[in-house]
Amino acid sequence: MPQVTLAVNGTSHTVEVEARTLLVEVLRETLRLTGTHVGCDTSQCGACVVHLDGDSVKSCTLLAVQAQGATITTIEGIAAADGTLHPMQEAFREYHALQCGFCTPGMVMSAIDLVEKHPQGLSEQEIREGLEGNICRCTGYHNIVKAIAAAAEVMQGRAGTLASAAE
């Protein structure tokens, strides 16, 4: 069986997989990182989004063998070691950007990539278009968009805190 070595959230793992094993299966079933969700398994909903070498990807549409040697970040890997939430997580909480929470890990991972790829800041329109690959059945997106806008202000140093980002 093929072996793959993945650096997941800062720890290197070498695991045996079948060629057909999806990355999301390794994350959830082998590494027990169940924060990454599977909503559709048809590449549409974005619940499974993780970062692969810094880019957001759908881990349900990627073979584990294709990720050989890659650096992967999942929702479990973004808070600080002492448990302090990532500004994007904090903003989702602050802005009530989740209800059932099923889409949230993928939303947060997509949102972080979106902010990082737009160092000059983001318009509301750009945030909405940037969420094309993530489906939420609860919130109506509005608070998600607000949360991302606020987190971008903090992540990019234009605001010190979420509270001041709202002003």
Binding site: S43, K58, L63, N134
Partner: protein, 264 residues
């Protein structure tokens, strides 16, 4: 998904040798089309030959009056590449509308062209810009490459290595996205290039095609009014739950007007 053997060759020659040795092996680039198909067991390859480790398939370069884009170049890279943005900005803008960010971070131009989905975006651009497909063994004009629904001139073991786009004076693209799938209901790419005016239509029929009446009209006078006067025939256009052939025929003219406006 059925299991298969996985190969990751380091050169085009090795990849072609692996495909030639096994008629049931298939190349995989971004996997954004192939993996969903394998999950549905629509396809049962014995082996996948991953092209992502082949350096010669990547990147964008200018060759004379043309831009050559490597087959493994991702949609995101085409959308943000400075050379593409400077010389064929419409192509970069188009690439930025393919699927979503995560699809663009994996999906490739070579995979899209080889797949020839009727609703895919790149085939319309390749037709309108009079692109040449570069394979491991020959060069094929876009006109001779796209043969029908999901069908191209490629042999089973032949790889798209790159695609050469003559740099146009102007080009534009517009599509109407299906609100659910987000694929084009109809899209039109227009270009005025060294080889003449090109109008490529995707989404509307079983295979992307050139709209020659619109090409003639734009050659006579490059303006929104020129294409507005051309009526697309609904014969042989797609009719499905999303829209009738007549609806799509009308969309072709509407998208052509927007594409000319986009080109300026």
């Amino acid at each position: 998904m059925y299991d298969f053997t996985y190969h990751k060759p380091g050169s085009v020659a090795d990849a072609v040798a692996l495909l030639a040795a096994d008629p049931d092996a298939k190349p995989i680039s971004g996997g954004m089309t192939l993996l969903p198909a394998l999950k549905h067991r629509l396809n049962r390859p014995t082996a996948l030959v991953d092209l992502s480790g082949i350096a010669e398939l990547r990147g964008v370069r200018q060759e004379g009056d043309a831009l050559v884009i490597g087959g493994m170049t991702k949609h995101y890279e085409v959308a943000t590449n400075p050379l593409v943005m400077a010389s064929i900005p419409a192509l970069a803008r188009m690439a930025a509308t393919i699927g979503d960010t995560q699809v663009r971070n994996r999906g490739t131009i070579g995979g899209s062209l080889a797949n020839n989905d009727p609703a895919a975006d790149y085939p319309a651009a390749a037709l309108a810009l009079r692109a040449t497909l570069i394979t491991d063994r020959r060069r094929i004009s876009a006109d001779d490459f796209f043969l029908g629904m999901f069908t191209t001139a490629l042999e089973a073991d032949e790889l798209v290595v790159g695609v050469s786009f003559p740099i146009p004076q102007k080009a534009g693209y517009a599509k109407l996205r299906n609100p659910a799938s987000r694929y084009a209901m109809a899209g039109v790419f227009v270009a005025k290039g060294p080889g003449g005016v090109g109008v490529g239509v995707n989404g509307a029929a079983a295979c992307s095609f050139r709209q020659v009446e619109m090409e003639a009209a734009l050659t006579a006078a490059w303006s929104v009014e020129s294409v507005a006067a051309v009526k697309q025939s609904p014969d042989e256009l797609n009719a499905d739950i999303h829209g009738s052939a007549e609806y799509r025929a009308n969309l072709v003219t509407v998208m052509a007007k927007r594409a000319v406006a986009d080109a300026g």
